[in-house]
């Protein structure tokens, strides 16, 4: 089977190079039938060399994924809040980027992607703390290790940034900084290790190509917990809080869509057939999810809204994320449509019936969309449905079960740790701004600036 050979060959290179299975694709080595061949072949394969095409694509993908956060997500969220809080969103996204970048270089990359020895199923080691030993010619598979680690860094940046949507318009900036620093350290780095760094989920056979669980379920659940602990915004849900600048949100949505090609196709860690297919299925699922949300909103409310259309698109992007290395084009169309419709109810009926104030639907879109995607990956990976097949030894039921376990464990671990962190930080500096600052708006109260002087 040509495809699996290719992909295993690729993975093998990477494993040899870094002496470790790292990154999304690594999983494929365990998963596909060809793996036996790969092991034999290892003996005769030449040592991995840098491939300029793979490197070019991964440099580009890194730029694309950073672009999703700066300015993509900042715009997507920043346009949806009220005028008086728009800068707070931007400041949060930029400062999260800076803080996570520093932590990643100090210990994050090492904890996520090195061998943790005895504790390896739970957490990596410290051998690459301070990026020790990473040189110009260090490789990870066919690309420089510097590129691999910067690419992975952009995932560690966007995940906490996604949480911002849940607590927008009311959290203290200092508390936000502390929470994010602690959260990536205690939640993101470990879970990233579990799934992509050689931890227990990887061994168990979870299929998560580009981060449906690691990134989206994780951020969604953390968002839900934050929204619950912080409480509702003053006036919610009686006062209408319409987006202050939808064009900003729509620009952001476009950037997310385009940047996601780097997110998903970049997770192939090379310019290969897997990257091409990931790009294609990403486009297809996003399209049907956008249309799914649009038509159901049109039916329910009589009008298709601009924000609905792009929210559906984002739901589709989220849902196809774990699946993008495993499903075929027609599976992607179906998966996207389901995600668009389910998230429509997740961000509307569910939120209303439960009464929490997930300001910008971080849980409604990323949490729900991530769960839908993770579970459906276990369905549409089926070769009968055009997919590449299940993890070695699993059938569809088994795969869906494993997917469910990964969602539950991620959700549970994330919820508990996030909750503890929030409580501790509340004691230390207080989580929420005072009522007057909330009513003045965070921009002037916390940052001393106004968004617009038109």
């Amino acid at each position: 089977m040509k495809i699996s050979e290719n992909r295993c060959g690729l993975v093998l290179h990477r494993a040899t190079a870094s002496n470790k299975m790292a990154g999304p694709l690594a999983l494929a080595a365990l998963l596909l039938p060809g793996v036996g061949w790969a092991e034999e072949a290892a003996a005769v394969l030449p040592p991995p060399v840098l491939n300029t095409g793979d490197t070019a694509w991964m440099l580009t993908s890194t730029a694309l994924v950073l672009f999703m956060t700066l300015p993509g997500l900042a715009l997507f969220y920043g346009g949806m809040v009220r005028t008086k809080n728009t800068l707070s969103i931007f400041t949060q996204c930029f400062s999260i980027t800076a803080v996570v970048t520093v932590l990643w270089s100090l210990f994050g990359y090492s904890l996520a992607f090195t061998d943790g020895g005895a504790a390896n199923s739970l957490i990596g080691g410290t051998s690459k703390a301070f990026l020790a030993g990473i040189k110009l010619d260090s490789l990870n598979g066919t690309i420089p290790e510097t590129v691999f680690l910067t690419f992975q860094l952009t995932f560690a940046i966007i995940t906490p940034a996604l949480i911002v949507g849940a607590f927008a318009e009311r959290m203290k900036f200092s508390a936000m900084l502390l929470f994010m620093a602690a959260w990536v350290t205690l939640v993101y780095f470990p879970i990233c290790h579990w799934v992509w760094g050689g931890g227990w989920m990887m061994t168990k056979g979870v299929l998560d190509f580009a981060g449906g669980t690691v990134v989206h379920v994780n951020a969604g659940i953390a968002g839900l917990v934050t929204a619950l602990v912080l409480g509702k915004r003053k006036g919610f849900p009686y006062t209408a809080m319409p987006p202050h600048n939808l064009p900003l949100t729509l620009i952001g949505a476009g950037m997310l869509w385009v940047g996601w090609f780097g997110f998903n196709a970049g997770s192939a860690v090379g310019a290969n057939g897997a990257a091409g297919m990931a790009m294609l299925v990403t486009q297809l699922a996003t399209a049907t999810a956008a249309l799914g949300w649009m038509f159901i909103e049109w039916m329910v409310h009589g009008k298709p809204s601009a924000l609905g259309l792009v929210t559906g698109a984002v739901a589709g992007l989220v849902a196809i994320t774990p699946a993008s290395g495993f499903v075929g084009p027609m599976g992607a169309l179906a998966l996207g449509a389901v995600a668009g419709i389910v998230c429509f109810f997740g961000a509307t009926s569910l939120k209303r019936s439960m009464g929490y104030d997930d300001s910008l639907d971080a849980f409604g879109v990323h949490g729900i969309g991530g769960i839908v995607g993770a579970l459906l990956t276990g369905v549409f990976a089926s070769p009968d449905l055009g997919g590449v097949g299940f993890f070695k030894g699993l059938d569809m039921a088994g795969q869906v079960w494993v997917q469910g376990v990964s969602v539950l464990s991620t959700g549970l671990y994330c919820a508990v740790v996030s909750w503890i962190l929030l409580k501790v930080i509340d004691l230390l500096v207080g989580l929420r701004v005072d009522a007057e600052s909330e009513s003045t708006g965070l921009d002037i109260a916390l940052h001393g600036e106004r968004g617009y002087n038109l």
């Binding site: 809204s305 509307t348 209303r352």
Partner: protein, 112 residues
Amino acid sequence: MKWITAIIKPFKQDEVREALTAIGITGMTVSEVRGFGRQKGHSELYRGAEYQVDFLPKLKIELATTEDRVNQVVETIRTAAMTGKIGDGKIFVLPIEHAVRIRTGETGPNVL
């Protein structure tokens, strides 16, 4: 001298201005306002939820004119601003006690 305040539908701005110019009115000041009245607002969508918007965009025209022209001005605005549909707006007339042109210091009707 009188102070005429008219609240009208925004898209009538040009028609009203032209009608006023036609009767020799050479000055006025307009501003964007939001109006609440008999005219129903509309519902808007936000992430699949609907909420009611009560305030509608209106235009406020303010203009000072002499006593003898008040009726003509009011009538001109009324005719030009009318669509016959609810929400066309109102015109109010208030007394002015004193007026000055900043550039010249002139007062009274000369100011206009």
